[in-house]
Assembly symmetry: C2
Homo-oligomer: 370 residues x 2
Amino acid sequence: MLGRRRRLAILAEGSFAPLEGKTAVGVLRYRSTEVAAVIDSTRAGRTAEACVGLGGSIPVVADVAAAAALGADSLLIGIAPQGGELPPAWRATLRAAIERGWDVLSGLHRFLADDVELAALAAASGATLYDVRRPPAHRPVAAGRAAAVEALVVLTVGSDCNVGKMTAALEVRRELDRRGVRAAFVATGQTGIFVADRGVAVDAVPADFVAGMVEELVIEAARESDVVIVEGQGALRHPGYSGVTLSLLHGAAPAALLLCHHSGRATYRTPRAPGERAREVARSGEPIIPPLVDLVREYELASAWVRPARVAAIALNTLGLDEADARQAEAGTALATGLATVDPVRHGAAPLADALLALRPARRGHATAS
Amino acid sequence: MLGRRRRLAILAEGSFAPLEGKTAVGVLRYRSTEVAAVIDSTRAGRTAEACVGLGGSIPVVADVAAAAALGADSLLIGIAPQGGELPPAWRATLRAAIERGWDVLSGLHRFLADDVELAALAAASGATLYDVRRPPAHRPVAAGRAAAVEALVVLTVGSDCNVGKMTAALEVRRELDRRGVRAAFVATGQTGIFVADRGVAVDAVPADFVAGMVEELVIEAARESDVVIVEGQGALRHPGYSGVTLSLLHGAAPAALLLCHHSGRATYRTPRAPGERAREVARSGEPIIPPLVDLVREYELASAWVRPARVAAIALNTLGLDEADARQAEAGTALATGLATVDPVRHGAAPLADALLALRPARRGHATAS
């Protein structure tokens, strides 16, 4: 990961749970062979599988020393606190890792390499601090150019933050790979970048250039792919992140959307105060997520402001449901929306891939006779 | 301006024309008494009035030396190139100003204080480089809190970039001042900040925090005002900037919108290639601006994703039309949309203020008997 093969210790202190340590869970799902241990002193002694249902027997340990004993050689920050600051409580852990000469891989908005103390420690120990959220220096402005690529461009969109947009994109990509379709994944967030080893964390890009950055990534990915799957961010109705969502929609200019939803999620996750972490617990006064049919219409409408797109299918995150309830949730959503619906993690992404490939235009030069 | 009373030389090299030097024109309109000269070697010898219809006899000169002879003591960068980079051709002008000890006021995305050569020159001469686009360090995430303020929150929105959103906001504020209504202007772009001496250039803020930043500004402004008028940015259908627009809409959570349009503008201004300046000339393939009635509906719909808002009136920029055509454009737009329509620069903002005040709720504690 990021330059060399690693033995990662993933820092998920106090948050190594299915819906909290989003980055930790994503890395465990897609690059678990590079993970030596997870650090969460509140869950030390358990396995990753026991905590988040993923990662098999990878041990959860209390600190850097315990992870080192298991062969770890790099620290990956596996939690994304709202606001992206470095929680003061983690500083000792980071110091311990850097003093051992471990590289640190971070997706925080606050860049580690700009932290005077940590940068000095890293210089002394020879460690490298990777801030994958640091935006590229150039400043492209989007102009709808991605609408012209020959590849089928797909964007995952969501009913809220943290519903499974990255996972749906990666699962569809894997399914297309399996079918021999040349498919590219465009990472737009820190976890996606850790998984794909490339991409841009668009939410850290100055707002004027988010759409332009995505436009560039799509055009580049389309050169060698027949399907380009862009990782979505935020949600059109989320008061904090809707702008990022619309920038992706208009910058990527997709022809197809996959709408992602966490089954049972009823209200938007908004912070109570600046810097507060997103929470699972619904609170009175939180905005209500409307019916998915309304969201389908809204996403198609907002797409059409730049380029018309269709919601091709629904990726339903059924985490927390038993098998019967999950099947029922899928069937109920399909009935309510008229769209193919599946939890791609639980039941495979084949229905999503089918729905997307049905939208792929006949290739130029291979028009069918009519 | 920015700390002290100044005698500004405004740099508008090659662009001191009504629709190009947006920042130059804005500063001339609202703070002309602080302007000593405008630098544009292609128009030297003319007056500001002759070039942009504003600024009376303020002279246009060829260079810093000529501006110095007129008493200038600070350089304000009056052009906003697409992409926000410092055009190489301006470097000599900046050097000349800084070597004289002039402060430089910049709204470029590329910060002057981070430019090694210019920063060293400024350190040597005692000049200060003001980068008004540098975002605040904190990182607020919006949660729809601005919807709860008691003041009437108004956002100017537009059919495109550069149609008069800042000007409409400032003209309405002036009209409300005249009527004794406590009104605040919230600047969200570099020109607005130069005019108001405060604000945040939201398009330079990392995308995740744009809505949160605006939410903060609105809540703060509402403490001492009955009407808060927020300067809008971009347009919902602009492929490059739509995300910034939606962030403002959801962060400010206005109850009322003023839709701004440049009469006769038919297509969106999008850059042909990254870094290229926006142009006036319509080009084939540029997206077409839909009828204003459609835009009214779209802005109201997108607002309602977080908080319902009504378009109260239309501010029509009739620059370039003669008086009869301007009156006809206003009447035609009012007829087509059913909304009060006026060019606030040409005919005053009274109709806009009337329409907004009609939307102001009865003040709490002063409910009218029914």
